[in-house]
């Protein structure tokens, strides 16, 4: 297992390198630069800015300079938010996105898994239809519709919770963003669990277990759940990486200082270093999450082993 893990981590390095290189050059292809805006600058000031950020150097040289700094752990300064380095921005923003995203996933699992299992066990009953109908609504209604409605109802009209703001992560400020973010995940996880459970419950070894005389409870909880979780695990790996790097919509609407908005804002501002920093960060996360999922697979399914 250890050798397998190390091999995977080593294999990740060329993958990351390719991702970084493609992103670096692709970003420069987009028209417009970091200093284009309504306040068009006199040529001498624009020249000064370009020189200060080494943007006047030939592109391959800029690339080598960036990679050199990256290997020393320096993501560079943000072009737009000049009092913060990219490292500082990500270091400040990631824990926030992690907290919101992590809680959302937790909530999604706590609610979604039981719902999916219940729907599978009571297939084609009222329970099943209600759960699946609600799940479909949860998938269909987008975040940017739900979130402002939550803010309006619970924040403005009822006044039970703040309509926005982070407030250092105080509990009242967490509730609405976490719930809004989790709705879609609950829906996906419930549907996936139901489908997976139904398939597992129809398989040979379950028939064997029942033939052996085990009661239904044991069949489900001891034998069916673990294999049924496998597809959900595969989904969760990249999904978690995506969620904990923040949702732009949720962060904009609730004013949460996470890193989700940096992906979009960085691109719109042509803040090259910020975009690269978030790309590298996200890439590393994806690699790690996929690795963890694969390791968990072998814990869940005895047939899967990674011995060479």
């Amino acid at each position: 297992m250890l050798i397998y893990t190390l091999k995977r981590l080593l294999q990740a390095i060329p993958t990351l390198l390719i991702v970084i290189t493609i992103s670096f050059f692709l970003m420069r292809v987009a028209p417009g630069g970091p200093f284009d805006g309504e306040r068009q600058l006199p040529p001498e000031i624009e020249a000064n800015l370009m020189a200060a950020y080494h943007l006047d150097e030939p592109l391959p040289m800029q690339y080598l300079r960036y990679m050199g700094n990256l290997l020393q752990g320096d993501f560079g300064p943000s072009f737009k938010y000049k009092d913060f380095s990219v490292t500082e921005l990500i270091a400040q923003g990631f824990p926030v996105s992690l907290e919101i995203g992590g809680l959302a996933i937790l909530l999604a699992l706590l609610v979604g898994l039981p719902l999916g299992i219940a729907a599978a066990i009571k297939r084609n009953s009222t329970v099943d239809y209600v759960v699946m109908g609600t799940a479909l609504t949860g998938i269909a209604v987008p975040n940017f519709v739900l979130a402002p409605i939550f803010a309006l109802v619970f924040g403005v009209l009822l006044g039970w919770l703040p309509a926005g703001g982070w407030n250092g992560g105080a509990l009242p400020n967490l509730v609405l963003p976490v719930v809004a973010l989790s709705i879609q995940q609950i829906a996906y996880i419930a549907r996936m669990m139901r489908a997976s459970m139904i398939e597992v419950l129809g398989s040979h070894f379950i028939r064997t277990a029942r033939a052996k005389g085990l009661n239904e409870g044991e069949v489900i909880w001891r034998h069916a759940i673990r294999p049924a979780l496998l597809p959900v695990m595969s989904y969760l790996g990249p999904a978690i990486a995506g969620i904990i790097t923040g949702s732009v919509v949720i962060e904009q609407i609730f004013g949460i200082p996470g890193i989700g908005r940096y992906f979009v804002q960085g691109a719109l501002n042509r803040d090259y270093t910020l975009v690269m920093g978030t790309v590298v960060f996200y890439g590393v996360l994806i690699v790690l999450m996929n690795l963890i999922v694969d390791l968990l697979y072998s814990a869940l399914d005895p047939q899967i082993r990674y011995d060479d």
Partner: protein, 534 residues
């Protein structure tokens, strides 16, 4: 917060009935920390590194005080300088700094703090965006360009409390220019010690009414009252928190829920609703800001022909745009410089005072004269940056020009791309706008000078440039006003641009606040605000 619901240990909240929830303001609290929603995240607290956005005014205006500052009505008054003398030729200003002006760490504000600030502004290594605003200072432009033979910078510390600034030409609006945040001093004792890191929260010092204590990027900047401020006794608030709220709807929600006391912008679409539901909180006031379309006058563009430009301008129904499309939130423009600028009377583009039919007929005749007709229609590309309002206006313009036989291709792009394309001259008609940096007509008219980087249309008029040049040497305010107005009339009769509307400032202010005065510069220093006596 003025009124608080959610902070631990606060008073019980009022239970408002659901119906009245639509008008939600909770009762005021005893705390005197102002919560302001600003339009975006400031780029920096260092004037040499700011990006040039209006929300930086909101934050830096409270933290720093320049030689000159603004009163609640937006008029300039002495700030860190208690008085100044001007030489007879109008080129040398001698500022006398206040004896009681101190930094928040107790060090006195001295003239070197201003010298260093201006040096950093013009240092090529910093690429300061606002350097060009202060080019009237002798040597400023040359230093910014990095010329090795630049004359000495015209900012000199005569003694600890006396500062001498020498200009290249008399600039009568220079005092009001010094109220701009880019003219703020820097604490030279900290810059010496920490260099560019002097703005870090653990050691920053400011000389304004407030000083920052923490900055969580994209979350909030917390500031507390600066006890060392010379007018600290008059500052009623204990502190100010600034929250960047880029989503206008989210800002409105937080205001309604009581999380924010002031929001520095709202979507114009919500104005009708706000007027009905939050009439005491909504503030709409004329602003020194315009919205116009640049007309490309370079060779190869149909808009290079003055007849085409005149026709296009005559055919635009600005009242329809201001009323129907913008919901009565803005005022139609008749000239380029908006009304309300000091020492200036707004000018009217010739022909706009005629009735719609005559203008339409004249426009048609002009286009025919220029060689356009049903078998040779005028084809234009119109560029705008992607917002809902811009799109509506662009579509409206295309519709207004269609009866003339004009075919308009609408191209929208995100902000950075839009302005890059404008700067490259890839357009016939291009949307632009300008918010005044300081209260003078030259801040607007300068855009049309042939050497201005913001002159997207490439308007070249010797007569205009000459008048502007003359005005910049004129010391007599009335004579200068005449020259500037003449210059604008020249540009308007050349139909150099297509002005559309004069913008307004939109603010939401908790009615429990006293001291807020709508002003044309939309500058509102928190030091003048206080909770109304109950």
């Amino acid at each position: 917060m003025l009124e608080s619901r959610y902070h631990a240990g606060r008073r019980h909240r009022l239970c408002l009935p659901l119906l009245l929830g639509m008008f939600a303001f909770a009762n005021t609290g005893l705390a005197a920390t102002l919560e302001i929603g600003i339009q975006g995240e400031p780029a920096s607290l260092d004037t040499a590194k700011i990006g040039g956005t209006t929300w930086e005014n909101d934050v830096l205006g409270d933290l720093f005080e320049g030689l000159v500052t603004l009163d609640p009505s937006g008029e300039y008054v002495p700030g860190a300088a208690s008085s100044w003398d001007v030489s007879d030729d109008g080129k040398v200003y001698t500022f006398h700094l206040r004896d009681d002006a101190n930094w928040s760490d107790g060090e006195p504000v001295i003239s070197v703090d201003f010298v260093l600030a201006f040096q950093r502004l013009f240092d090529p290594a910093n690429g300061a965006v606002y350097a060009s605003l202060f080019y009237p200072i002798r040597g400023a432009k040359a230093h910014t360009k990095g010329n090795t033979d630049a004359p000495d910078l015209g900012v000199e510390a005569v003694d600890a409390k006396t500062l001498k600034i020498t200009l290249d030409q008399p600039t009568p609006y220079f005092p009001t220019l010094l109220a701009h945040i880019a003219a703020s001093p820097v604490p030279s004792h900290l810059v010496e010690q920490f260099g560019n890191d002097w703005t870090q929260m653990d050691h920053i010092a400011t000389n304004g009414a407030f000083t920052p204590t923490s900055w969580v990027s994209h979350d909030h900047i917390a500031a507390r009252k600066n006890a060392e401020f010379h007018a600290a006794d008059d500052v009623a608030l204990d502190g100010v928190d600034y929250y960047p709220v880029e989503d206008r709807s989210a800002g409105l929600q937080r205001f309604r829920a009581g999380g924010l006391d002031i929001v520095r912008d709202f979507s114009p679409d919500r104005y009708q609703w706000l007027q009905q539901n939050l009439p005491d909180a909504v503030h709409l006031a004329p602003q020194l800001a315009n919205y116009y379309f640049a007309l490309n006058q370079r060779d190869g563009h149909p808009t290079a022909d003055k007849r085409v430009r005149e026709a296009l301008n005559l055919a635009i129904r600005r009242d329809v745009i201001a009323n129907q499309i913008m919901g009565d939130v803005v005022t139609p423009a008749s000239g380029f410089v908006p009304g309300g600028v000091s020492h200036y009377d707004a000018q009217t583009m010739p022909g706009l005072d005629q009735d719609t039919e005559s203008r339409a007929a004249k426009a048609k005749a002009l286009l025919e004269d220029a060689g356009y007709g049903p078998d040779h229609p005028l084809e234009l590309t119109l560029r705008y940056s992607t917002t809902e309002a811009n799109k509506r206006i662009a579509v409206a313009l295309a519709a207004m020009w269609k009866p003339l036989g004009v075919e308009t291709q609408l191209i929208n792009a995100e902000g950075a791309v839009h302005y890059a394309e404008l700067a490259a001259g890839n357009f016939d008609v291009g949307r632009g706008s300008w918010v005044a940096d300081f209260d003078d007509a030259s801040n607007f008219l300068g855009i049309l000078q042939s050497d201005s980087p913001k002159n997207y249309g490439g308007y070249q008029s010797d007569a205009f440039d000459q008048l502007m040049n003359q005005a910049s040497h004129e010391t007599d305010m009335d004579a200068r006003q005449q020259l500037l107005e003449q210059a604008e009339r020249q540009a308007l009769s050349d139909y150099a641009v297509a002005p559309i509307y004069v913008d307004v400032s939109r603010n939401l202010v908790n009615p429990k606040l006293d001291g807020w005065k709508d002003n044309a510069l939309n500058r509102h220093l928190s030091r003048y605000l206080q909770e109304r006596e109950q």
